[in-house]
């Protein structure tokens, strides 16, 4: 099998390499890729939308169907992970629980049928497993860093018209903060901040914001996702209406991507049990 695969790959690679000299030279300004559609985008992007970042304009305005169905694909991936992995069965072996005495850092194991501490006890905290490290340094650092990261992600979202950034990057950074919380503390803390139900709802609402903007344009008598018609609603002229609509659409993308990243992490790191994490 390995030899066959090697021969196949070498043969196909040789064919591709033999034909590679038909490709244009690297960095040639007159190559076919940069002479047909993209001059129109570069020349008219600022005039149509008053937004300097052309990538954001092409992403959310000229090719917004692409982006909308891409957000739908991300949502579908979240659902696929959920339906494949999630199970209600408790994964606890033997039914014992681990608790940590916070002032001393001692870990105690309570057997099945033992007396458990109160749910909201300040002295004992439920932990996932015996090896969960007691590490105030990492927990404090992550708790101090997470607000800065979240503000940075909102900056990336809001400043995406003028600098690199936008909905996808902001969503992934925002999801990464929740994943960081789950890694540095444990999965229960993270689930308390953002439960699975919230993640599912946010992802659906995000895609709905995107599709709803397009539907609103359709209802007001224009093409689907043609933002010009929203100008009276957004109290601005047509170009600025496109600019504002790009921001609205990117908020939807941010919510969808962030929620789906967190959701997939919850299911993967606990193998669908969601009782003890990484």
């Amino acid at each position: 099998m390995k030899k066959l695969a090697l021969i196949l790959c070498l043969f196909a690679g040789g064919l591709l390499l033999m034909n590679a000299h038909y490709l244009p030279m690297w960095g040639d300004p007159a190559s076919p890729a940069s002479t047909h559609v993209s001059p129109y985008f570069i020349e008219n992007a600022y005039e149509h939308t008053k937004t300097p970042n052309m990538v954001a304009v092409v992403l959310a305005d000229y090719r917004s169907y692409d982006t909308m169905f891409e957000a739908a694909v991300v949502l579908a991936a979240g659902f696929a992970c959920f339906f494949l992995l999630r199970s209600r069965a408790r994964g606890k072996k033997g039914g014992h629980h681990y608790y940590r005495h916070i002032p001393t850092g001692v870990t105690i194991k309570i057997e099945e049928g033992g007396k458990l501490p109160a749910e909201n006890s300040k002295v004992f905290r439920s932990i996932d497993a015996l090896w969960t490290p007691y590490d105030p340094i990492i927990q404090t650092t992550c708790r101090c860093l997470i607000p800065f990261l979240q503000i940075y992600s909102l900056y990336v979202l809001a400043h995406g018209h003028y600098s690199p950034g936008g909905g996808f990057q902001a969503g992934v950074v925002l999801g990464a903060t929740i994943i960081l919380l789950a890694i540095s503390h444990n999965l229960k803390t993270s689930l308390k901040r953002m439960s699975e139900r919230t993640a599912a709802l946010w992802s659906i609402i995000g895609v709905f914001i995107f599709a709803g903007t397009g539907l609103l344009c359709l209802l007001l008598g224009m093409d689907y996702l043609n933002y010009e018609v929203l100008a009276p609603l957004l109290l601005s002229d047509e170009a600025m209406a496109r600019s504002h609509s790009i921001l609205i659409v990117e908020v939807g993308v941010t919510m969808a991507v962030m929620a789906v990243m967190v959701w997939i992490y919850y299911n993967l790191s606990s193998a669908g049990q969601q009782d003890e994490g990484l």
């Binding site: 991936a77 979240g78 600098s163 690199p164």
Partner: protein, 127 residues
């Protein structure tokens, strides 16, 4: 045809083609499922590199409009934004498919207790 500029001018494409077939070979020949997924990842990034290579122009700047160019815009001055957009969406779809692929691998491990393809085949046939 002079060979030196030919090689220098297209080395990016050679690298992309090499990574493409490296990923393909890994997907066909490796027996471990996680290794297959790593091969898939390499495959995807090689295609991303190929598209971004196609968008590059010498002496051009980033596709963000500069203040002094707002009157008359020359398309030669800016990089081609279209492949950037396509690949930006492709990367996020790549991580979504990676999540689904890893989920399937985890499910397979839970049922058969192994990630090796031949052992899974053996377990299916002896069932």
């Amino acid at each position: 045809m002079d060979a030196i500029p030919y090689f220098i001018g297209k080395y990016n494409y050679w690298g992309c083609i090499f990574l493409f077939f490296l990923g393909m070979y890994a997907m066909i020949s490796k027996t471990n499922l996680i290794k297959k997924i790593i091969g898939l990842n390499i495959f995807q990034t090689s295609i991303i590199l190929f598209f971004i290579s196609a968008s590059f122009k010498h002496d051009a700047t980033l596709p963000i409009l500069m203040e002094e160019h707002k009157g008359a815009i020359d398309p030669v001055m800016y990089l081609n934004p279209l492949p950037h957009v396509l690949m930006l969406t492709a990367i996020v779809v790549a991580v979504a498919t990676l999540g689904v692929a890893l989920t399937l691998a985890l499910k397979v491990y839970r049922i058969y207790g192994t990630l090796e393809e031949d052992e899974i085949n053996h377990a299916i046939q002896s069932h």
